[in-house]
């Protein structure tokens, strides 16, 4: 019949009009981010042993580390990421042996000035020799294999919200 397609088109748009809307009102509501989301970096400076693996793994030379020797061990004094060059590939996070460097779910890292984009994750003075050594060794022993906590069901919620 002539005009069948026209009627079908109208039916489709009518159905869509009454269907559930997919828009998410961003500042008021947010889609739950997946656990593996590559957001802003987080550094647990106490866990870090300043091994430089992350800095060497970075293809863009984003990570700049300053360290001093305290006793027998390396001590992290400054950890700066030049995020403006970062492509969030995650090689640094993968390379971290101590689980010190992690991704968070913070994604709004925009700044008004380019100079403020730089991310300083640790900036601390080196401690005096004796107590720092003890504290560092203790912590290392404690947190040898920390089990990463994962909030269950967050990923499936995001998938459900999309449909």
């Amino acid at each position: 019949m002539f005009g069948k397609g026209l009627i079908k088109g109208l039916q489709i748009t009518w159905r869509e009009m009454l269907a559930q809307k997919v828009t998410v009102q961003y500042p008021d509501e947010q889609i739950p981010l997946p656990d593996r989301y590559h957001g802003r970096f987080e550094l647990d400076a106490d866990k870090c042993i300043a091994c430089m693996l992350c800095a060497n793994a970075c293809p863009n030379k984003v990570i700049q580390i300053e360290r001093t020797r305290v006793g027998k061990k390396q001590y992290l004094t400054k950890y700066v990421m030049r995020i403006e060059y970062c492509m969030f590939c995650g090689l640094c996070v993968e390379s971290c042996n101590q689980d010190a460097l992690r991704f968070s779910k913070v994604f709004n890292m925009n700044q008004y000035f380019r100079s403020r984009v730089r991310l300083t994750l640790a900036d601390r003075p080196a401690p005096a020799e004796e107590p720092a050594e003890e504290a560092g060794s203790e912590q290392e022993a404690k947190k040898k294999a920390p089990a990463p906590k994962k909030p269950a069901g967050a990923g499936s919620e995001a998938a459900a919200g999309k449909s």
């Binding site: 026209l6 088109g9 009518w14 869509e16 009009m17 269907a19 559930q20 828009t23």
Partner: protein, 350 residues
């Protein structure tokens, strides 16, 4: 309840003028000014509402939410847009024909406004109950073709010119089926007065006796209002915005206002000629006549918007072919069949 609310307001103003001793001619003029300003206010408010409605409907059809930030539930979005457009600069291109360029947005709003003068909003609620109302309305609305052409030519821009040529070609060729479709109704009623045409639909609406005419009128009306799928005039992907390309600020706003006002005119004409105007369906007269009128008009407008956000734009050759090869012969056939039917019924003696 509320059936005579507008008539009472009119007679109250008239009585007030008489009581303070205003001569008859002056009070007539004052009444006309009151009616005209009421119509202009009505059109402006409606256009503001229709733009919002269009955006909301388009959003809903596309699974979005649409404007919902300005005012409660986004209802003041268009008001904000109008204020923005009013405060923007009105640019005049160097190559423009200044007089025509400036004149076009000034006069473009006149034809739809004039058309509203003869519309019966409810029982006995026409601003002017003209004997040749339908003829007047058709004549006045055809004027807008030349104003679009003025804007297109005055802009001195090739996109505007192409758009303007399309306006003229499209509007002139779709004017014909538009008028011929109405002829069937006019043959049955034997009058050009809109109130009498509405009264003639007391038993059965003309959409049931003249379904083909309604369809032809509706399609030609979509084309006359330059809306998708016939919006070749301002086809964004081809010719930027057609005749409106160079206009900015309030000039552009006037063209937009006219577009929505003409949608309103076409919907009102559909309501009066085919959907029984202010007459209540099934004898549901507990609601006032003007309410039924607006309800029907808004159903028509919704249909316009629904179609706009469903169908893609057609090509120029398809547009012309459809107009001249399908709509015009069909409307002529409709007149022919209506004439035969009337003759048969008369000879039977109905």
């Amino acid at each position: 309840m509320g059936e005579n609310i507008f008539l009472n307001i009119a007679s109250w103003i008239r009585g007030l003028l008489d009581s303070i001793g205003v001569p008859l001619l002056a009070s007539d003029i004052i009444m006309m000014i009151v009616k005209a300003s009421a119509i202009i206010v009505f059109i402006s408010l409606n256009v503001i509402w229709l733009v919002l409605m269009e955006r909301k409907i388009s959003a809903y059809i596309q699974c979005r939410i649409g404007p919902n930030r300005v005012g409660p539930k986004g209802t003041l979005q268009t008001v904000a847009d109008v204020i923005k457009l009013m405060t923007k600069e009105f640019l005049i291109p160097r190559s423009a024909d200044k007089v025509i360029y400036l004149l076009a947005p000034l006069v473009v709003f006149a034809p739809p406004t004039l058309a509203f003068a003869v519309v019966p909003w409810g029982d006995g609620m026409a601003a002017i109950d003209m004997g040749i109302g339908v003829f007047y309305l058709i004549a006045v609305t055809s004027l807008s073709t030349i104003i679009f052409w003025m804007g297109a030519w005055g802009s001195g821009n090739k996109y505007s010119l192409v758009g303007g040529m399309r306006v003229v070609a499209q509007m002139v060729s779709y004017e014909l089926p538009l008028v011929l479709a109405l002829l069937g109704v006019i043959m049955i009623t034997g009058t050009l007065n809109m109130s009498e045409i509405v009264e003639a639909q007391k038993n059965v609406w003309f959409i049931f006796t003249q379904p083909l005419a309604f369809l032809i009128y509706f399609i030609a009306g979509v084309s006359e209002a330059n809306r998708t799928p016939f919006d070749l005039v301002e086809a964004e992907s081809e010719i930027i915005a057609g005749p409106y390309t160079e206009y900015s600020g309030m000039g552009y706003a006037m063209f937009m206002l006219t577009e929505y006002a003409s949608v309103l005119v076409i919907s009102i004409m559909c309501t009066i000629m085919f959907l029984g105007g202010w007459l209540a369906p099934f004898g549901w007269t507990f609601l006032p006549s003007w309410f039924w009128f607006f309800l029907k008009v808004y159903v028509m407008i919704f249909l316009f918007m629904w179609i706009r956000w469903t169908y893609p734009r057609i090509r120029v050759d398809q547009l012309m072919g459809f107009g001249w090869k399908v709509l015009v012969p069909l409307s002529l056939a409709n007149i022919f069949v209506t004439g035969i039917g009337m003759y048969v019924y008369r000879s039977i003696g109905w």
